[in-house]
């Protein structure tokens, strides 16, 4: 990702916006978390989150900087299918709705996705899952922190490392102070800001440029963007769909919400969240199709959204884009920090280092772990390009594709298939990730998720068909229960 030669927003205004929203998020986080007394309060917000907050947090977490910045880029590169394909990412949320209900029913006292894998499949599969899940979580954390630095630099000319440090510090602070309650509370406001901002820019683009001018100029200059049989775009559609489903099904970000939402809320929250998320990439992406009509020269495809907004709306557009991007970054970073610290506290610290840790001890441990996670993320994002894998946002995300896709079938089979084989689940993740990664290097980034999911499915089905292992669902109701290794 490269920036622009001239930032679209004056640095002084950008600093004012950063300061105002940083103070708002941190104060709100402290206020929301002031009554957290136990690890359960801190990690799961009291397990009774209502429909409004639940729907908003599902949407906000899935609206990342990628949604607001990459959707216009994809529309510019892949045309109509680029924005429509990106919007199919909503299927991950919609398909997770029945899983969320099943998770809440089977594990009313569960804490993490790791709890489920440990109880359902035993310790070996649990450890394999933790490796897969933590690699993905850390990859996403670093990519979000990098996105923060890059975008703030590109939009306002603030130094990459300074911008990245500010956004990471703010998110660590309010997650530390308020836990999941702070994350969900701020997510509500961030969702309203993001969607209202994106819709505002889209309406003004329609009003000022118009569909006729957009369609006419595209037909003249970039007719392939209006082609409904654009092969690269159709391939992207399937790859994005699989990647999104894998990300949501396995990640503790979504599992911790399934545990935190009130009884009978999870299904509706994920379903509504998915349906309401569906139009966002179209709204955010469409404005890129106006570039030929506006006669804009786009030096970096990933900055097309801000460029069009600034062209159509001037300084107001630049301010709206900056606020939307900051809200989108914070809403995903905070969720990742909270969910990953829960997973590390519960499954690594308590699961492997101090099994006798009390509730109060875990409460303190999760706070220390949030700070440590922030620090490690900052180090990795600070030295991007100097680490072998952490080269660019896209490389990092596609690299994790093989891992997340290989976890889809063990999760689905574990929740619904009573005879799913535990060893098969472990090997489906190991072989799916391994062969998926090999295809990433040998064939190309775009097949990693596809190959990972296909291998994982084959191993899961074959192992269970040849060696079925009946399971007592009742064992999932006791998260601290003994497991059969």
């Amino acid at each position: 990702m490269t920036g622009l030669d001239d930032p679209i927003l004056p640095t002084s205004i950008a600093w004012g916006l950063l300061a105002a929203f940083s103070v708002l998020w941190v104060v709100l986080g402290w206020w929301l978390g002031r009554r957290n007394k136990t690890a359960e309060d801190h990690m799961l917000a009291g397990r009774n989150v209502g429909l409004a907050l639940a729907t908003a947090t599902a949407m906000a977490t899935w609206v990342t900087a990628n949604t607001t910045m990459t959707a216009p880029q994809l529309a510019l590169q892949l045309g109509v299918w680029g924005m429509l394909g990106y919007s199919l990412g909503a299927l991950g949320l919609i398909l997770f709705a029945p899983l969320a209900r099943r998770i809440r029913e089977l594990m009313p006292e569960g804490f993490t996705s790791g709890d489920f894998i440990r109880l359902r499949y035993g310790k070996f599969t649990w450890r394999v899952f933790l490796v897969v899940s933590l690699i993905y979580a850390f990859g996403w954390l670093v990519s979000m922190a990098m996105a923060g630095g890059v975008l703030i630099n590109a939009l306002a000319g603030i130094d990459y490392r300074v911008g990245m440090t500010v956004i990471l510090t703010v998110c660590v602070l309010y997650t530390l102070l308020g836990g999941l309650r702070a994350v969900i509370g701020t997510d509500f406001i961030q969702t309203v800001i993001i969607i209202a901002g994106a819709a505002f820019i889209a309406w003004l683009t329609i009003d000022k440029v118009g569909f006729e001018a957009i369609h006419f100029n595209l037909m003249e200059e970039r007719p392939e963007l209006l082609n409904l049989l654009f092969p690269a775009a159709i391939m992207f559609l399937f790859n994005n769909l699989l990647f999104g489903v894998g990300e949501i099904f396995h990640s503790n970000v979504w599992w911790s919400r399934a545990f935190a939402f009130g009884r009978n809320v999870g299904f509706r929250a994920y379903l509504f969240g998915g349906l309401l998320w569906l139009p966002i990439p179209i709204v955010a992406g469409f404005i890129a199709l106006a570039t030929p009509a506006l006669g804009l020269n786009v030096p970096a495809a990933d900055m097309v959204g801000p460029l069009v907004a600034a062209e159509v709306l001037g300084l107001t557009g630049a301010i709206v884009v900056f606020i939307v991007v900051f809200a989108a970054l914070a809403s995903s970073l905070d969720s990742l920090l909270a969910a990953t610290s829960d997973l590390v506290t519960r499954d690594i610290y308590r699961g492997h280092i101090r099994p006798q840790a009390s509730e109060q001890h875990q409460f303190h441990a999760t706070k220390v772990i949030v700070v440590l996670l922030g620090l490690v993320t900052w180090l990795a994002a600070s030295y991007r390009g100097e680490l072998p894998i952490v080269g660019s946002l896209a490389e990092l995300l596609y690299f994790t594709g093989a891992f997340v896709a290989s976890a889809i079938w063990p999760i689905v089979a574990g929740l619904y298939w009573q005879r799913a084989n535990p060893q098969g689940a472990a090997w489906s993740m190991i072989l799916g990730s391994g062969i998926g990664l090999a295809s990433y290097f040998l064939i190309g980034f775009y097949v990693a998720a596809l190959v990972g999911a296909a291998v994982s499915l084959a191993v899961m089905v074959l192992s269970t068909w040849l060696m079925p292992r009946p399971f007592d669902w009742g064992r999932l109701a006791r998260p601290d229960g003994e497991v059969v290794a």
Partner: protein, 40 residues
């Protein structure tokens, strides 16, 4: 096969309408949950 101007406008306008109504819907849901005492 090229998308027509009508189809493009219908898709974008429906998406933008839904996105414009979403904040209102979320705030209405928030007020309902708050009045019923089931925000958290």
């Amino acid at each position: 096969m090229t998308i027509s101007i009508t189809a493009l406008s219908v898709i974008v306008i429906i998406a933008t309408l839904v996105a414009s109504l979403t904040p209102i819907l979320l705030i209405a849901l928030f007020i309902r949950d708050w009045k019923k005492g089931c925000l958290w």
